[in-house]
Symmetry: C2
Subunit: 223 residues, 2 copies
DNA sequence: TTGCGTATTAAACAGTTGTATCATGGGCTC
DNA sequence: GAGCCCATGATACAACTGTTTAATACGCAA
Protein backbone atom coordinates (compact mmCIF):
# COMPACT_ATOMS: atom_id res chain seq x y z
CA UNK A 1 0.00 0.00 0.00
CA UNK A 2 1.54 3.23 -1.02
CA UNK A 3 0.79 5.09 2.18
CA UNK A 4 2.46 8.49 2.12
CA UNK A 5 -0.81 10.16 2.69
CA UNK A 6 -0.22 12.48 5.57
CA UNK A 7 0.96 14.60 7.04
CA UNK A 8 -0.07 17.56 9.04
CA UNK A 9 -2.66 16.80 11.63
CA UNK A 10 -4.26 20.15 11.42
CA UNK A 11 -6.31 19.47 14.48
CA UNK A 12 -5.95 16.96 17.18
CA UNK A 13 -9.32 15.35 16.61
CA UNK A 14 -9.71 15.45 12.83
CA UNK A 15 -7.02 13.49 11.10
CA UNK A 16 -7.11 12.23 7.55
CA UNK A 17 -8.02 8.69 8.39
CA UNK A 18 -10.96 9.63 10.52
CA UNK A 19 -12.63 11.47 7.65
CA UNK A 20 -11.83 8.73 5.20
CA UNK A 21 -13.29 6.18 7.56
CA UNK A 22 -16.53 8.10 7.81
CA UNK A 23 -16.82 8.37 4.06
CA UNK A 24 -15.99 4.76 3.37
CA UNK A 25 -18.20 3.52 6.17
CA UNK A 26 -21.09 5.61 4.94
CA UNK A 27 -21.04 4.01 1.53
CA UNK A 28 -20.60 0.49 2.79
CA UNK A 29 -23.17 0.77 5.56
CA UNK A 30 -25.66 2.22 3.10
CA UNK A 31 -25.03 -0.57 0.65
CA UNK A 32 -24.90 -3.56 2.97
CA UNK A 33 -26.45 -2.53 6.23
CA UNK A 34 -24.86 -2.53 9.65
CA UNK A 35 -24.52 -6.25 10.13
CA UNK A 36 -23.31 -7.29 6.73
CA UNK A 37 -20.74 -4.52 6.51
CA UNK A 38 -17.43 -5.65 7.95
CA UNK A 39 -14.84 -3.52 9.64
CA UNK A 40 -12.15 -5.01 7.48
CA UNK A 41 -13.87 -3.96 4.29
CA UNK A 42 -14.36 -0.45 5.60
CA UNK A 43 -10.76 0.06 6.62
CA UNK A 44 -9.56 -1.45 3.36
CA UNK A 45 -11.68 1.00 1.39
CA UNK A 46 -10.48 3.84 3.59
CA UNK A 47 -6.87 2.77 3.29
CA UNK A 48 -6.56 2.56 7.02
CA UNK A 49 -5.49 -0.01 9.53
CA UNK A 50 -7.89 -2.49 11.05
CA UNK A 51 -7.50 -0.94 14.45
CA UNK A 52 -8.43 2.53 13.20
CA UNK A 53 -12.13 1.97 13.75
CA UNK A 54 -11.73 0.97 17.35
CA UNK A 55 -9.19 3.68 17.97
CA UNK A 56 -11.22 6.55 16.61
CA UNK A 57 -14.76 5.41 17.35
CA UNK A 58 -14.48 2.86 20.12
CA UNK A 59 -16.24 0.10 18.25
CA UNK A 60 -18.19 -0.62 15.11
CA UNK A 61 -21.40 0.79 16.48
CA UNK A 62 -19.64 3.98 17.46
CA UNK A 63 -18.52 4.34 13.87
CA UNK A 64 -22.06 3.72 12.70
CA UNK A 65 -23.41 6.41 14.95
CA UNK A 66 -20.66 8.82 13.92
CA UNK A 67 -21.45 8.17 10.28
CA UNK A 68 -24.99 9.36 10.84
CA UNK A 69 -23.97 12.51 12.65
CA UNK A 70 -21.36 13.20 10.00
CA UNK A 71 -23.81 12.65 7.17
CA UNK A 72 -26.44 14.81 8.80
CA UNK A 73 -24.03 17.72 8.84
CA UNK A 74 -22.71 17.16 5.35
CA UNK A 75 -25.65 16.29 3.15
CA UNK A 76 -28.77 16.22 5.28
CA UNK A 77 -30.08 19.55 4.14
CA UNK A 78 -32.32 20.47 1.29
CA UNK A 79 -30.86 22.06 -1.81
CA UNK A 80 -31.73 25.73 -2.42
CA UNK A 81 -33.99 24.93 -5.33
CA UNK A 82 -36.09 22.58 -3.23
CA UNK A 83 -36.19 25.07 -0.39
CA UNK A 84 -37.49 27.70 -2.73
CA UNK A 85 -40.20 25.45 -4.09
CA UNK A 86 -41.17 24.22 -0.64
CA UNK A 87 -41.64 27.82 0.45
CA UNK A 88 -43.91 28.60 -2.47
CA UNK A 89 -47.62 29.19 -2.16
CA UNK A 90 -49.04 26.37 -4.28
CA UNK A 91 -49.36 23.14 -2.27
CA UNK A 92 -49.29 21.12 -5.48
CA UNK A 93 -45.86 22.43 -6.30
CA UNK A 94 -44.70 21.92 -2.74
CA UNK A 95 -45.87 18.33 -2.87
CA UNK A 96 -43.98 17.82 -6.10
CA UNK A 97 -40.83 19.31 -4.60
CA UNK A 98 -41.07 17.13 -1.52
CA UNK A 99 -41.61 13.95 -3.50
CA UNK A 100 -38.90 14.73 -6.02
CA UNK A 101 -36.31 15.56 -3.39
CA UNK A 102 -36.83 12.31 -1.53
CA UNK A 103 -36.97 10.29 -4.70
CA UNK A 104 -33.71 11.77 -5.92
CA UNK A 105 -32.00 11.05 -2.65
CA UNK A 106 -33.17 7.45 -2.77
CA UNK A 107 -32.58 6.60 -6.40
CA UNK A 108 -30.00 8.94 -7.87
CA UNK A 109 -26.81 6.99 -8.29
CA UNK A 110 -24.38 9.72 -9.11
CA UNK A 111 -24.54 11.76 -5.96
CA UNK A 112 -22.57 10.91 -2.88
CA UNK A 113 -25.22 11.29 -0.23
CA UNK A 114 -25.90 7.84 1.06
CA UNK A 115 -27.76 9.43 3.93
CA UNK A 116 -31.11 8.74 2.39
CA UNK A 117 -30.22 5.13 1.81
CA UNK A 118 -28.88 4.82 5.31
CA UNK A 119 -32.13 6.23 6.57
CA UNK A 120 -34.35 3.67 4.90
CA UNK A 121 -31.92 0.96 5.93
CA UNK A 122 -32.55 1.97 9.50
CA UNK A 123 -36.27 1.91 8.85
CA UNK A 124 -36.29 -1.71 7.81
CA UNK A 125 -33.56 -2.91 10.19
CA UNK A 126 -33.46 -0.72 13.26
CA UNK A 127 -30.22 -0.81 15.18
CA UNK A 128 -30.76 1.72 17.93
CA UNK A 129 -29.93 4.84 15.98
CA UNK A 130 -33.49 4.86 14.74
CA UNK A 131 -34.84 6.93 17.60
CA UNK A 132 -32.37 9.72 17.03
CA UNK A 133 -32.99 9.49 13.31
CA UNK A 134 -36.74 9.66 13.64
CA UNK A 135 -36.74 12.65 15.92
CA UNK A 136 -34.13 14.71 14.15
CA UNK A 137 -34.86 13.94 10.52
CA UNK A 138 -37.68 11.65 9.58
CA UNK A 139 -40.28 13.34 11.74
CA UNK A 140 -39.46 16.87 10.53
CA UNK A 141 -39.72 15.76 6.92
CA UNK A 142 -42.90 13.91 7.72
CA UNK A 143 -44.42 16.95 9.40
CA UNK A 144 -43.59 19.00 6.34
CA UNK A 145 -45.48 16.50 4.26
CA UNK A 146 -48.36 16.46 6.72
CA UNK A 147 -48.58 20.23 6.42
CA UNK A 148 -48.75 20.03 2.66
CA UNK A 149 -51.39 17.35 2.77
CA UNK A 150 -53.42 19.32 5.27
CA UNK A 151 -53.36 22.32 3.02
CA UNK A 152 -54.65 20.27 0.11
CA UNK A 153 -57.43 18.41 1.89
CA UNK A 154 -58.60 21.32 4.00
CA UNK A 155 -60.00 21.19 7.50
CA UNK A 156 -62.69 18.60 7.09
CA UNK A 157 -60.48 15.62 7.87
CA UNK A 158 -59.10 14.47 11.18
CA UNK A 159 -55.42 14.80 11.93
CA UNK A 160 -55.05 11.03 12.17
CA UNK A 161 -56.44 10.62 8.71
CA UNK A 162 -54.16 13.32 7.34
CA UNK A 163 -51.20 11.47 8.78
CA UNK A 164 -52.35 8.28 7.11
CA UNK A 165 -52.58 10.13 3.82
CA UNK A 166 -49.09 11.51 4.27
CA UNK A 167 -47.94 7.99 5.00
CA UNK A 168 -49.54 6.83 1.78
CA UNK A 169 -47.62 9.47 -0.13
CA UNK A 170 -44.31 8.68 1.52
CA UNK A 171 -44.90 4.97 1.05
CA UNK A 172 -44.86 5.44 -2.69
CA UNK A 173 -41.45 7.01 -3.09
CA UNK A 174 -39.95 4.84 -0.41
CA UNK A 175 -41.24 1.76 -2.19
CA UNK A 176 -39.13 2.44 -5.25
CA UNK A 177 -36.08 2.07 -3.09
CA UNK A 178 -37.25 -0.64 -0.71
CA UNK A 179 -38.41 -3.00 -3.38
CA UNK A 180 -36.25 -1.79 -6.22
CA UNK A 181 -35.35 -5.24 -7.55
CA UNK A 182 -38.99 -6.23 -7.77
CA UNK A 183 -40.24 -2.93 -9.10
CA UNK A 184 -37.81 -2.98 -11.98
CA UNK A 185 -38.85 -6.51 -12.82
CA UNK A 186 -42.55 -5.72 -12.77
CA UNK A 187 -42.13 -2.43 -14.62
CA UNK A 188 -39.48 -3.26 -17.20
CA UNK A 189 -40.04 0.00 -19.01
CA UNK A 190 -38.84 1.96 -15.99
CA UNK A 191 -35.56 3.77 -16.45
CA UNK A 192 -34.25 5.17 -13.21
CA UNK A 193 -31.89 7.75 -14.65
CA UNK A 194 -32.35 11.41 -13.83
CA UNK A 195 -35.14 11.87 -16.34
CA UNK A 196 -36.86 8.71 -15.18
CA UNK A 197 -36.72 9.86 -11.60
CA UNK A 198 -38.41 13.13 -12.49
CA UNK A 199 -41.07 11.25 -14.45
CA UNK A 200 -41.64 9.02 -11.46
CA UNK A 201 -41.94 12.04 -9.23
CA UNK A 202 -44.57 13.35 -11.62
CA UNK A 203 -46.54 10.15 -11.38
CA UNK A 204 -46.42 9.95 -7.61
CA UNK A 205 -47.38 13.59 -7.29
CA UNK A 206 -50.29 13.25 -9.71
CA UNK A 207 -51.50 10.05 -8.13
CA UNK A 208 -51.36 11.53 -4.64
CA UNK A 209 -52.89 14.81 -5.67
CA UNK A 210 -55.73 13.00 -7.35
CA UNK A 211 -56.31 11.01 -4.20
CA UNK A 212 -56.21 13.97 -1.86
CA UNK A 213 -58.48 16.12 -3.98
CA UNK A 214 -61.01 13.37 -4.40
CA UNK A 215 -60.87 12.55 -0.72
CA UNK A 216 -61.79 16.17 -0.07
CA UNK A 217 -64.82 15.83 -2.29
CA UNK A 218 -65.91 12.69 -0.51
CA UNK A 219 -65.62 14.39 2.83
CA UNK A 220 -67.64 17.32 1.61
CA UNK A 221 -70.22 15.04 0.05
CA UNK A 222 -70.67 12.89 3.10
CA UNK A 223 -70.51 15.73 5.60
CA UNK B 1 -22.47 -34.96 -2.14
CA UNK B 2 -25.61 -36.89 -1.40
CA UNK B 3 -28.30 -34.97 -3.06
CA UNK B 4 -31.09 -36.55 -1.10
CA UNK B 5 -33.51 -33.83 -1.76
CA UNK B 6 -37.19 -34.08 -2.15
CA UNK B 7 -37.79 -37.66 -3.05
CA UNK B 8 -36.87 -39.40 0.15
CA UNK B 9 -39.58 -39.46 2.73
CA UNK B 10 -42.58 -41.08 1.23
CA UNK B 11 -43.77 -42.72 4.37
CA UNK B 12 -45.97 -41.38 7.10
CA UNK B 13 -42.86 -40.22 8.94
CA UNK B 14 -43.34 -36.92 7.19
CA UNK B 15 -43.76 -35.19 10.50
CA UNK B 16 -40.10 -35.80 11.08
CA UNK B 17 -37.25 -33.45 11.34
CA UNK B 18 -37.46 -32.33 7.75
CA UNK B 19 -40.89 -30.84 8.27
CA UNK B 20 -39.97 -29.32 11.57
CA UNK B 21 -36.90 -27.78 10.01
CA UNK B 22 -38.98 -26.18 7.29
CA UNK B 23 -41.39 -24.73 9.81
CA UNK B 24 -38.74 -23.45 12.16
CA UNK B 25 -36.60 -22.08 9.35
CA UNK B 26 -39.60 -20.31 7.86
CA UNK B 27 -40.26 -18.38 11.02
CA UNK B 28 -36.65 -17.53 11.69
CA UNK B 29 -35.84 -16.60 8.12
CA UNK B 30 -38.90 -14.39 8.00
CA UNK B 31 -37.94 -12.69 11.22
CA UNK B 32 -34.23 -12.22 10.72
CA UNK B 33 -33.52 -12.64 7.05
CA UNK B 34 -31.24 -15.15 5.42
CA UNK B 35 -27.95 -13.85 6.69
CA UNK B 36 -28.82 -13.08 10.28
CA UNK B 37 -30.58 -16.38 10.80
CA UNK B 38 -28.18 -19.02 12.02
CA UNK B 39 -28.35 -22.72 11.36
CA UNK B 40 -27.85 -23.43 15.02
CA UNK B 41 -30.87 -21.39 16.02
CA UNK B 42 -33.00 -23.11 13.42
CA UNK B 43 -32.08 -26.61 14.49
CA UNK B 44 -32.50 -25.67 18.12
CA UNK B 45 -36.02 -24.43 17.46
CA UNK B 46 -36.76 -27.53 15.41
CA UNK B 47 -35.32 -29.82 18.06
CA UNK B 48 -32.97 -31.31 15.52
CA UNK B 49 -29.29 -31.90 15.25
CA UNK B 50 -26.92 -29.37 13.77
CA UNK B 51 -26.13 -31.63 10.89
CA UNK B 52 -29.77 -32.03 9.95
CA UNK B 53 -29.78 -28.98 7.71
CA UNK B 54 -26.84 -30.13 5.66
CA UNK B 55 -28.13 -33.65 5.53
CA UNK B 56 -31.62 -32.85 4.32
CA UNK B 57 -31.00 -29.75 2.25
CA UNK B 58 -27.34 -29.76 1.35
CA UNK B 59 -26.60 -26.39 2.83
CA UNK B 60 -28.21 -23.35 4.36
CA UNK B 61 -29.23 -21.92 1.03
CA UNK B 62 -30.84 -25.19 0.04
CA UNK B 63 -32.94 -24.98 3.17
CA UNK B 64 -33.85 -21.42 2.33
CA UNK B 65 -35.00 -22.41 -1.12
CA UNK B 66 -36.92 -25.38 0.23
CA UNK B 67 -38.66 -23.15 2.75
CA UNK B 68 -40.06 -21.09 -0.09
CA UNK B 69 -41.30 -24.05 -2.06
CA UNK B 70 -42.79 -25.51 1.10
CA UNK B 71 -44.50 -22.28 2.04
CA UNK B 72 -45.89 -21.79 -1.43
CA UNK B 73 -47.65 -25.12 -1.19
CA UNK B 74 -48.87 -24.64 2.34
CA UNK B 75 -50.09 -21.09 2.69
CA UNK B 76 -49.54 -19.30 -0.57
CA UNK B 77 -53.14 -19.44 -1.64
CA UNK B 78 -55.97 -17.06 -1.05
CA UNK B 79 -58.64 -17.85 1.45
CA UNK B 80 -62.12 -18.67 0.11
CA UNK B 81 -63.59 -15.42 1.31
CA UNK B 82 -60.99 -13.39 -0.54
CA UNK B 83 -61.41 -15.52 -3.65
CA UNK B 84 -65.14 -14.88 -3.57
CA UNK B 85 -64.67 -11.15 -3.26
CA UNK B 86 -61.98 -11.04 -5.92
CA UNK B 87 -64.35 -12.76 -8.32
CA UNK B 88 -67.09 -10.25 -7.68
CA UNK B 89 -68.22 -7.68 -10.20
CA UNK B 90 -67.45 -4.42 -8.40
CA UNK B 91 -63.81 -3.39 -8.88
CA UNK B 92 -63.95 -1.30 -5.70
CA UNK B 93 -64.73 -4.37 -3.66
CA UNK B 94 -62.08 -6.37 -5.48
CA UNK B 95 -59.53 -3.69 -4.72
CA UNK B 96 -60.52 -3.77 -1.08
CA UNK B 97 -60.20 -7.56 -0.98
CA UNK B 98 -56.76 -7.46 -2.58
CA UNK B 99 -55.45 -4.79 -0.26
CA UNK B 100 -56.88 -6.40 2.85
CA UNK B 101 -55.53 -9.83 2.02
CA UNK B 102 -51.99 -8.57 1.55
CA UNK B 103 -52.17 -6.34 4.57
CA UNK B 104 -53.35 -9.18 6.75
CA UNK B 105 -50.56 -11.42 5.53
CA UNK B 106 -48.01 -8.75 6.32
CA UNK B 107 -49.24 -7.49 9.66
CA UNK B 108 -51.38 -10.12 11.32
CA UNK B 109 -49.36 -11.63 14.13
CA UNK B 110 -51.46 -14.59 15.05
CA UNK B 111 -51.41 -16.56 11.86
CA UNK B 112 -48.55 -18.82 10.91
CA UNK B 113 -47.95 -17.77 7.35
CA UNK B 114 -44.58 -16.13 7.31
CA UNK B 115 -44.66 -16.44 3.55
CA UNK B 116 -45.68 -12.85 3.09
CA UNK B 117 -42.95 -11.66 5.36
CA UNK B 118 -40.42 -13.86 3.62
CA UNK B 119 -41.56 -12.38 0.35
CA UNK B 120 -40.94 -8.79 1.32
CA UNK B 121 -37.66 -9.81 2.89
CA UNK B 122 -36.59 -11.10 -0.48
CA UNK B 123 -37.72 -7.86 -2.04
CA UNK B 124 -35.42 -5.74 0.08
CA UNK B 125 -32.53 -8.22 0.27
CA UNK B 126 -32.52 -10.45 -2.77
CA UNK B 127 -30.65 -13.69 -2.36
CA UNK B 128 -31.23 -15.46 -5.65
CA UNK B 129 -34.64 -16.89 -4.89
CA UNK B 130 -36.16 -13.64 -5.96
CA UNK B 131 -36.50 -14.60 -9.61
CA UNK B 132 -38.52 -17.67 -8.82
CA UNK B 133 -40.56 -15.71 -6.33
CA UNK B 134 -41.36 -12.93 -8.74
CA UNK B 135 -42.44 -15.20 -11.52
CA UNK B 136 -44.54 -17.58 -9.49
CA UNK B 137 -46.13 -15.31 -6.93
CA UNK B 138 -45.43 -11.64 -6.96
CA UNK B 139 -46.14 -11.15 -10.63
CA UNK B 140 -49.46 -13.04 -10.57
CA UNK B 141 -50.66 -10.98 -7.63
CA UNK B 142 -49.41 -7.85 -9.31
CA UNK B 143 -51.23 -8.69 -12.51
CA UNK B 144 -54.41 -9.21 -10.54
CA UNK B 145 -53.98 -5.75 -9.13
CA UNK B 146 -53.19 -4.33 -12.55
CA UNK B 147 -56.42 -5.83 -13.82
CA UNK B 148 -58.42 -4.23 -11.07
CA UNK B 149 -56.78 -0.87 -11.63
CA UNK B 150 -57.38 -1.10 -15.36
CA UNK B 151 -61.04 -1.75 -14.76
CA UNK B 152 -61.31 1.32 -12.57
CA UNK B 153 -59.43 3.76 -14.75
CA UNK B 154 -60.83 2.56 -18.05
CA UNK B 155 -59.07 2.45 -21.37
CA UNK B 156 -57.81 5.99 -21.60
CA UNK B 157 -54.52 5.34 -19.87
CA UNK B 158 -51.45 3.56 -21.13
CA UNK B 159 -50.49 0.20 -19.75
CA UNK B 160 -47.25 1.59 -18.34
CA UNK B 161 -49.18 4.16 -16.39
CA UNK B 162 -51.60 1.57 -15.11
CA UNK B 163 -48.68 -0.46 -13.82
CA UNK B 164 -47.32 2.59 -12.06
CA UNK B 165 -50.68 3.10 -10.42
CA UNK B 166 -50.77 -0.51 -9.31
CA UNK B 167 -47.29 -0.04 -7.91
CA UNK B 168 -48.51 2.97 -5.98
CA UNK B 169 -51.28 0.88 -4.47
CA UNK B 170 -49.01 -1.99 -3.55
CA UNK B 171 -46.42 0.42 -2.16
CA UNK B 172 -48.88 1.53 0.46
CA UNK B 173 -49.64 -1.78 2.09
CA UNK B 174 -46.05 -2.95 1.74
CA UNK B 175 -44.87 0.19 3.47
CA UNK B 176 -46.64 -0.70 6.68
CA UNK B 177 -44.49 -3.75 6.90
CA UNK B 178 -41.24 -2.41 5.49
CA UNK B 179 -41.10 0.63 7.69
CA UNK B 180 -43.18 -0.63 10.56
CA UNK B 181 -40.96 0.78 13.33
CA UNK B 182 -41.08 4.22 11.80
CA UNK B 183 -44.74 4.15 10.88
CA UNK B 184 -45.78 3.30 14.41
CA UNK B 185 -43.64 6.13 15.75
CA UNK B 186 -45.07 8.68 13.34
CA UNK B 187 -48.64 7.45 13.76
CA UNK B 188 -48.85 6.67 17.44
CA UNK B 189 -52.59 6.26 17.28
CA UNK B 190 -52.23 3.24 14.98
CA UNK B 191 -53.22 -0.07 16.51
CA UNK B 192 -52.24 -2.97 14.32
CA UNK B 193 -54.60 -5.54 15.75
CA UNK B 194 -57.18 -7.20 13.53
CA UNK B 195 -59.56 -4.26 13.67
CA UNK B 196 -56.75 -1.83 13.02
CA UNK B 197 -55.64 -3.81 10.01
CA UNK B 198 -59.11 -3.66 8.52
CA UNK B 199 -59.28 0.07 9.18
CA UNK B 200 -55.96 0.47 7.47
CA UNK B 201 -57.20 -1.53 4.52
CA UNK B 202 -60.15 0.84 4.35
CA UNK B 203 -57.88 3.86 4.26
CA UNK B 204 -55.57 2.45 1.59
CA UNK B 205 -58.52 1.39 -0.52
CA UNK B 206 -60.24 4.76 -0.24
CA UNK B 207 -57.05 6.67 -0.92
CA UNK B 208 -56.26 4.56 -3.96
CA UNK B 209 -59.79 4.61 -5.27
CA UNK B 210 -59.90 8.38 -4.95
CA UNK B 211 -56.66 8.63 -6.87
CA UNK B 212 -57.71 6.28 -9.64
CA UNK B 213 -61.10 7.86 -10.12
CA UNK B 214 -59.68 11.35 -10.20
CA UNK B 215 -56.93 10.25 -12.57
CA UNK B 216 -59.67 9.04 -14.89
CA UNK B 217 -61.31 12.44 -14.78
CA UNK B 218 -58.04 14.15 -15.56
CA UNK B 219 -57.48 11.87 -18.51
CA UNK B 220 -60.94 12.59 -19.79
CA UNK B 221 -60.51 16.29 -19.26
CA UNK B 222 -57.19 16.51 -21.01
CA UNK B 223 -58.08 14.09 -23.78
C1' DT C 1 19.47 14.41 23.71
C1' DT C 2 15.32 12.43 26.66
C1' DG C 3 10.65 11.92 27.64
C1' DC C 4 5.79 11.98 26.62
C1' DG C 5 1.48 11.84 24.07
C1' DT C 6 -0.67 10.59 19.85
C1' DA C 7 -1.52 8.11 15.64
C1' DT C 8 -0.63 4.03 12.90
C1' DT C 9 0.82 -0.77 12.26
C1' DA C 10 0.96 -5.70 12.87
C1' DA C 11 -0.30 -9.63 15.15
C1' DA C 12 -3.16 -12.21 18.10
C1' DC C 13 -7.42 -13.13 20.52
C1' DA C 14 -12.06 -15.09 21.51
C1' DG C 15 -16.41 -15.77 19.62
C1' DT C 16 -19.51 -17.30 15.99
C1' DT C 17 -20.52 -18.94 11.59
C1' DG C 18 -21.48 -22.82 8.02
C1' DT C 19 -19.89 -27.15 6.91
C1' DA C 20 -17.48 -31.74 7.08
C1' DT C 21 -16.20 -35.91 9.48
C1' DC C 22 -16.88 -39.86 12.09
C1' DA C 23 -19.60 -42.65 14.95
C1' DT C 24 -24.18 -44.40 16.56
C1' DG C 25 -28.95 -46.17 16.34
C1' DG C 26 -32.85 -48.30 14.27
C1' DG C 27 -35.52 -50.49 10.99
C1' DC C 28 -35.35 -53.51 7.04
C1' DT C 29 -34.21 -57.77 3.91
C1' DC C 30 -31.63 -61.81 3.59
C1' DG D 1 -28.48 -63.24 13.81
C1' DA D 2 -25.65 -60.48 9.70
C1' DG D 3 -25.52 -56.90 6.49
C1' DC D 4 -27.11 -52.61 4.83
C1' DC D 5 -29.26 -48.14 4.33
C1' DC D 6 -31.01 -44.18 6.09
C1' DA D 7 -31.52 -40.79 9.77
C1' DT D 8 -29.42 -38.78 13.65
C1' DG D 9 -25.96 -37.40 16.95
C1' DA D 10 -21.57 -35.34 18.82
C1' DT D 11 -17.60 -33.17 17.59
C1' DA D 12 -14.00 -31.01 14.72
C1' DC D 13 -12.68 -27.67 11.49
C1' DA D 14 -11.68 -23.68 8.69
C1' DA D 15 -13.19 -19.25 7.71
C1' DC D 16 -14.67 -15.00 9.26
C1' DT D 17 -16.25 -11.71 12.71
C1' DG D 18 -15.19 -7.58 16.11
C1' DT D 19 -11.99 -6.48 19.40
C1' DT D 20 -7.65 -6.28 22.03
C1' DT D 21 -2.80 -6.01 22.82
C1' DA D 22 1.91 -4.90 21.97
C1' DA D 23 5.10 -2.55 19.17
C1' DT D 24 6.47 1.27 16.13
C1' DA D 25 6.92 6.08 14.01
C1' DC D 26 6.28 10.91 14.58
C1' DG D 27 5.93 15.70 16.67
C1' DC D 28 7.17 18.54 20.24
C1' DA D 29 8.39 20.41 24.76
C1' DA D 30 11.82 20.36 28.50
Amino acid sequence: MGNSKEQTNRTATEGGTRERLLEAAGEIFAEKGFRKATVREIVRKAGANLNAVNYHFGDKEGLYRAVFEHALHVCGHLDPETIRKLAGPAPEQRLRAHVAWHLRGLLSEQRPPWLARLRVREMTEPTGVLDLLVERHIRPHFLTLVGIVREIVGDGITEDRVRLCATSVAAQYLHYHHAKPVVTRLNPELKLDDAGIEALADHITQFSLAALENLLRDEEGSA
